[in-house]
């Protein structure tokens, strides 16, 4: 937790809701007969119940169709950059990766090491159908570094959509039925680093995946409820507490409303600044999760960041590949935090404009 009155705008690892941290502190180190969660065989009924419970709570939040399975895997989204092609890219069929920004290119670069992966510019609306034999079409739903998010999903015909949902996962409702596979590392809206949630449609589990390591095989992990080997149990506990907290907050639709209001405050502070601030992304592609912006005078950005830190507005430095500022507005960020930043931006502009 950040100090009282301070706000944590980190892009990930990122703020975790305070009630979740308080419960985790109690539950993670609770002892009991034969040791606590981190000290007993993962075949223990309470451990299996934790995993199954986390799975069910998440499925309920997402209103997940029966056709889709939830896996809890060790590592982050970068591990899935390789696991996806090793599971889904066999033979000579290509995968298509849409170049939405930094993380899409990272995902493509890794996939290209394991098969034919084509990098394609974002669709211009005139449509350019995918080759019929495309193994899958990869989307980075929200570009954490660039502040860009898909406003709607492209038409992929019968080709399965595979999405890196890391930074927008659980920021609002998500129609998983429209995806063959989704993956999201935990360190944004799910909890701490070290865990990746994978949601996969059952027909994709039939692909041979002969090159996938056993611990990365979606089929094997689905068959064994994420227990091919011991999964990252501390992170699964925290994730389960986050899933419950989301329910208490009113569910994904309520969070989506709140998240839109938070982003609107910041984009207003930018758009109403008469050019003092400049959004990195314009129009429909603006992310409501990672608001990236620059000063008209980049030489003043260091002053802005230092003054923000001094005001208790932490971790606003932009991604190294993009520069400038980035305010990440995950679920744990209260509206008051976005308002405090918007007010600070107005004040900084008046003082330096």
């Amino acid at each position: 937790m950040a100090e009282r009155g301070a706000y944590n705008f980190a892009a990930g690892p990122a703020a975790i809701p305070a009630p979740v941290l308080a419960r985790a502190r109690e539950q993670l180190f609770a002892g009991g007969k034969g040791g606590g969660l981190l000290e007993r065989p993962f075949s223990h009924p309470d451990t299996r119940a934790l995993i199954a419970g986390a799975r069910r709570t998440l499925a309920r939040l997402l209103d997940l169709p029966d056709s889709h399975r939830i896996l809890f895997l060790a590592g982050g989204a970068s591990h899935q950059f390789a696991a996806v092609p090793l599971n889904l890219l066999e033979g000579t069929e290509p995968a298509v990766y849409y170049d939405s920004g930094y993380w899409a290119r990272r995902a493509h670069g890794e996939a290209a090491r394991f098969g034919t992966a084509l990098l394609r510019a974002l669709p211009d609306g005139r449509g350019e159908p995918l080759p019929d034999d495309t193994a899958y079409c990869h989307l980075t739903l929200n570009e954490t570094a660039d502040g860009r998010a898909w406003p709607s999903l492209p038409d992929c015909g019968t080709v399965p959509r595979v999405a890196d949902a890391t930074s927008c996962f659980l920021a609002g409702p998500l129609d998983c039925a429209r995806f063959g596979l989704l993956y999201a590392s935990a360190q944004k809206n799910i909890g701490p680093p070290g865990l990746c949630v994978v949601i996969v449609r059952e027909d994709l589990l039939a692909r041979p995946a002969s090159r996938a390591p056993a611990t990365w095989s979606y089929r094997r992990q689905a068959e064994q409820d994420s227990c091919v080997n011991t999964p990252p149990l501390a992170e699964i506990l925290l994730a389960s507490l986050v899933f419950e907290w989301i329910g208490e907050e009113g569910g994904l639709a309520a969070l989506a409303e709140r998240n839109r209001r938070k982003a609107a405050l910041l984009y207003a502070a930018i758009d109403d600044s008469a050019g003092f601030y400049r959004a990195v992304v314009d129009g429909a592609w603006r992310s409501i999760t990672n608001v990236c912006f620059r000063l008209a005078d980049p030489a003043r950005e260091a002053d802005f960041l230092a003054a923000a830190e001094a005001a208790g507005l932490h971790h606003l430095r932009g991604h190294a590949q993009v520069g400038g500022m980035r305010a990440s507005l995950y679920n744990a960020m209260p509206e008051a935090g976005a308002r405090a930043l918007a007010d600070f931006m107005d004040d900084f502009r008046r003082r330096h404009g």
Copy 2:
């Protein structure tokens, strides 16, 4: 922690020292400027200092030569079953896996999916030199399921020894100079599941590893101090606390003495039982970490396990592939725990012998 007066003999995830759990409870959820460990960018100086500190403390405990690098990777030893051949097994050179038991065969089975991996019986002392072009020779130093441990290392000539050290790592001094690569999942003597320590000699980092996913590339992880992507930070914190605790306990030599005494108590209870108990492994290959034993009358084993549970001696059921009983005596198990089990075994024998 187990309840007062109770002892946790789990094979892993296994008992974690009580002082470590108490410190982790404070430190893991400590807040501070801009959020705690799990909520801030992994480039944060305090996070980098945690990783570097854990690495240095471990190197000091092991008296690690400068030629060897320490990596903290997501996942468990099962992930390394694939990562090892994907990093070290290029072209047509074979790897040799010694068949010491269940986990050696698991490691071999996975490696054989990614290259030529030969399974070889344990050496009989007469020597059977390895083929000159052997890429590496794999040893499972301690077989957690079978209760078998290498009494000394086989002569591998110039072929690098690669070892799964999971269940005996940090149970005593270990001459890492004798290995090209060692890996150990955390959930025995290091801490909680979700982390694997890899120790690799620098010359092996030069192998091309063209098939290794970026997050599994030993070279890339060594270049970036285990931060190719966000590592499992909660587990690294707990590991660093365990490393410090080992120092406070007198270091690895002191722990080795204590661990030998613990095992001697149990093997004495077995060997002095006039055949009521039978050790699964005899002679020099007996593990001091996982003491596996049967009753002469296997039909009574369920009674034994139930009575042990009732007496506060938890998780003594043997591995499903071996059966019987298994007492795991990791560093967190006090001598009093081994003594309590030995006394219970004597008592059970008197009542049922």
